[in-house]
């Protein structure tokens, strides 16, 4: 541009070579990059987090599914008798609530630490060693706050909404198997139940947004309703593909069918669709429009405070955990270990000592019964794999949350109706083909899956593909 031709410098230039100072460091006392990032505290909190996460949840699961029934049988209530069903039906959910609470509390802590690590921060640091008690204090603070509702709200619905949201997330556990036999109700329509329970949560959010008489809340509620209703469709079709492929709606059967090959390989398209639609279902970035804090202040939970908000919060993190858990059941082989043969530790106990009926009452005998195939020891190992897969899913979702901005509402709908739903139909078709002709179906699945994966990664994360990039400006 002729307007900006370089002007000749007016003064004689004397270039000064500035010596390189090797010893100079950007001095910032609190800079996490340049400072030692408190590695001891991080390690401590990580060890505490993972050990307590897996230890406590395994303990609760074992108590629920083996301890309580065994106790009831010792007390004289035969399995499936009236008293057994009554006591187990009342106490089991309480234990499961404990499970969800523990999972939510420890997950929130670990995810805050993880997010902090991604973002060059410390994360929770002050309550307990390396901040491990942060979420406990958060929960105590929420519980101890006043149970308050603003004057202009529709009181009944306003109170009911968080309960609906929480319950809809919580009841999914009823049909979820963590290990062989470790399931509350081994119903034959488990997949249908999961879809129905997930849909119920949308009502809670919509009612919350409507009842609070707040414009931002209303917009959040409507956005949530539109989003959840739309994304139910591909989500359900993805689960339906698994049902078609495995020929059962019973979740235990679905997991059993994956003992050799996990469903993710023959059913890759439904797997990816479930991953994406699941993000929308738990209202997380890039689909967090209903509670977009920079647009709608807090969306559907603007007017909630104290434990009323706490219910939304716990439900959000419970869903964040349960969705990957369902993903693991349907696609990642549930409780089955990865195909790398990992020896069952219990066999060591069984094989080193010959079973002896005389030993039945001794500690050795107890160990032998515990670690026998089908006993509590093996079930614990199975449950560990279920929990690990769910935890991996949670971290995957959190990684996306740390990276991506959010979509606009019309783009969200476009992705669902023009992208995911037609794709999920193809996935369903391929699942049916795989069911009839396994070899053809698998080849078709791989052929479609690889371009799909490349496309998704390139669209979401801007991976440079070989094709020339379109110039935008």
């Amino acid at each position: 541009m002729s307007l900006y031709e370089n002007k000749e410098p007016r003064m004689p230039l004397e270039r000064v070579a500035i010596p390189e100072n090797k010893h100079f460091k950007l001095r910032n006392k609190y800079h996490p990059l340049l400072n030692n990032h408190n590695p001891k505290g991080n390690l401590l909190s990580a060890i505490f987090g993972y050990v307590s996460l897996f230890g406590t949840t395994l303990l609760v699961l074992a108590l629920t599914y083996q301890g309580l029934p065994a106790l009831l049988e010792v007390l004289g209530a035969a399995k499936n008798s009236f008293w057994y069903n009554l006591v187990y039906g009342l106490l089991g959910p309480v234990l499961m609530f404990l499970f969800v609470a523990v999972v939510a509390l420890i997950n929130i802590l670990m995810l805050r630490k993880y997010l902090a690590k991604v973002q060059n921060r410390y994360g929770p640091l002050h309550h307990g060693p390396a901040g491990v008690l942060q979420t406990v204090f958060d929960a105590l603070k929420l519980v101890s706050k006043e149970d308050f509702s603003p004057g202009m709200v529709e009181e009944t619905i306003f109170t009911l909404a968080p309960v609906i949201v929480f319950v809809s997330a919580f009841i999914m556990i009823a049909v979820m198997p963590f290990a062989p036999g470790w399931v509350f109700s081994n119903v034959d329509s488990g997949a249908l139940f999961i879809i129905a329970a997930g849909t119920l949560g949308g009502y809670g959010v919509l009612l919350a947004g409507w009842s609070m008489n707040n414009k931002y809340g209303l917009m959040g509620g409507l956005r949530a309703a539109a989003q959840l209703v739309s994304y139910e469709v591909p989500l359900s079709i993805a689960l339906l593909s698994v049902v078609v492929y495995n020929g059962s709606m019973n979740l235990t059967d679905i997991v059993q069918a994956q003992s050799t090959v996990w469903n993710v390989f023959p059913l890759f398209i439904p797997f990816v669709i479930y991953l994406i639609a699941g993000l929308a279902e738990i209202k997380m970035t890039p689909f967090d429009l209903p509670e977009a804090e920079s647009e709608l202040v807090a969306g559907f939970n603007t007017e909630y405070g104290g434990m009323r908000f706490g219910f939304f919060f716990v439900a959000e993190f419970a869903e964040l955990y349960l969705l990957p858990a369902i993903l693991a059941i349907f696609f990642l082989g549930g409780w089955h270990a990865p195909s790398i043969p990992i020896p069952y530790i219990g066999e060591l106990v069984i094989h080193t000592t010959a079973p002896n009926p005389a030993n039945a009452s001794s500690i050795l005998g107890l160990l032998q019964t515990m670690f026998a195939p089908g006993g509590i020891g093996q079930n614990l190992q199975y449950a560990f794999w279920s929990l690990l897969k769910a935890a991996a899913g949670v971290y995957f979702y959190m990684w996306i949350r740390a990276t991506l901005p959010r979509f606009r509402d019309d783009q969200l709908m476009e992705l669902c109706w023009k992208g995911l739903i037609p794709l999920s139909m193809i996935g369903l078709l391929l699942a049916a083909v795989s069911r009839l002709y396994p070899a053809v179906g698998q080849i078709l699945s791989y052929v479609t899956a690889i371009p799909l994966l490349l496309f998704i990664v390139s669209r979401a994360f801007g991976l440079k593909l070989p094709s020339p990039k379109k110039e935008l400006a």
């Binding site: 003064m11 000064v16 890039p286 202040v297 990276t403 991506l404 935008l472």
Partner: protein, 379 residues
């Protein structure tokens, strides 16, 4: 353009099924301070937008008129508090012109270097807050991590981080920290490795492009009519940059490009700002290479009492556009009239043209893309 309607009364607009008025601000996470925009929304579509300003009015102009010239400088810091150091310059230039003070070469270079460093810091704040508006939380923390290093450099030299009060009539208040130039070079080396990271998270990210391309189109003629300047104007394709057009300090001696983008939308404005990072780095490196090692930083100053009737308007290109000061002297040591021409105030006038017809989510994306600072809008 929609006619200005009474923002307090809900009127039926022809052809609209139902219009809801929403107060976007003054307490809203996305308004970058205390801006209030009354939005009429029909579903998710914005039908009208009326910005209400003045919540942060602190009467700077009148305060400056009852104070001596040198007492005015700290007030200018507090206008655009995100790039405080840049705000001092137009006042200094205007008074220097009125009194005929010759600025030493060394001070010119110090000013230029710190001016561009402040621009990097300010644009970093923009990246962070804009990505927060769009829903990504991580770039905010990255940006503030790097901005912290710039503030450290400024603190070591000027003594304060945000409101340094460092530039003065005839140069800079005191000599810089002996290691300042090395610190800056070290920072630039660090920052250049981080720039591709920012680009991958923002302007190269597909979701970011989906949210910004074609959003908030600011017609070049409309922009000129409203007096929009800075990256917002350059994002609309008009190559107007006071560093080139009315060069001051050491800008005539350095070589850089005016970052013009032709898209006129939020994405172009973002790209214009991103390219300015590279230009600022280029300017700083050149200025450091040309920097005269010896020499005074302040000349012998005359009495700060311009002749009666002298008036002067000087403007500089700060991070947000053209910041000008208009001073009239009445022969005393206090200005008879001090008027600030602030870029964000003018940019905000074009808000309605960009808002109307867009989606509610787009409104937030537009408001973030024009990078306003309310301290400077309201003064």
């Amino acid at each position: 353009m929609t006619a200005v309607l009474n923002p307090t009364a809900l009127e039926t607009v022809e052809g609209r099924t139902d219009e809801m008025l929403i107060n976007l601000g003054p307490q809203h996470p996305a308004t970058h301070g205390v801006l209030k925009v009354v939005l009429g929304v029909d579903g998710e579509r914005v039908t009208r937008a009326i910005p209400h300003i003045g919540f942060l009015h602190r009467n700077h102009e009148k305060l400056e008129e009852v104070r001596t010239y040198s007492m005015c400088i700290p007030y200018t810091d507090r206008m655009d508090y995100v790039s405080g150091m840049q705000n001092e310059l137009p006042l200094c230039l205007a008074v220097e012109d009125m009194l005929g003070i010759e600025v030493p070469e060394r001070s010119k270079y110090i000013r230029t270097i710190l001016f561009e460093l402040s621009r990097i810091a300010s644009h970093l704040v923009w990246i962070g807050t804009y990505m927060l508006d769009l829903g990504a939380i991580t770039p905010f923390l990255y940006a503030f991590r790097d901005r912290e290093l710039i503030l450290d450099i400024i603190e070591k030299t000027a003594g304060a981080r945000l409101l340094p009060n460092y530039f003065t009539f005839g140069g800079v208040r005191r000599d810089h920290h002996p290691a300042m130039l090395e610190d800056i070079l070290e920072f630039l080396k660090f920052f250049e490795t981080k720039l591709p990271e920012y680009e991958a998270l923002t302007i190269d990210a597909p979701v970011f492009q989906a949210r910004t391309v074609g959003v908030g189109v600011l017609d070049p003629q409309v922009a000129l009519n409203h007096g929009v300047t800075g990256p917002n104007l350059r994002g609309s394709g008009i190559p107007w940059d006071l560093r080139k057009d009315e060069p001051y300090d050491a800008y005539p001696f350095v070589d850089f490009e005016v970052c013009v983008e032709l898209g006129c939308d939020a994405y172009s404005r973002s790209r214009a700002r991103f390219r300015e990072f590279y230009e600022s780095i280029k300017i700083i490196r050149q200025a450091i290479a040309q920097y005269p090692k010896v020499g005074p930083t302040l000349p012998k100053l005359p009495r700060l009492k311009p002749v009666a009737g002298v008036e002067r308007y000087r403007a500089v290109e700060i991070s947000r556009g053209q910041l000008g000061v208009y001073l009239i002297s009445d022969g005393t040591e206090k200005p008879f009239r001090a008027k600030h021409r602030s870029p964000s105030f003018c940019t905000l006038q074009a808000l309605q043209d960009m808002f109307v017809g867009s989606k509610f989510s787009d409104a937030i994306a537009i408001l973030g893309s024009i990078d306003i600072v309310l301290g400077e809008v309201d003064r």
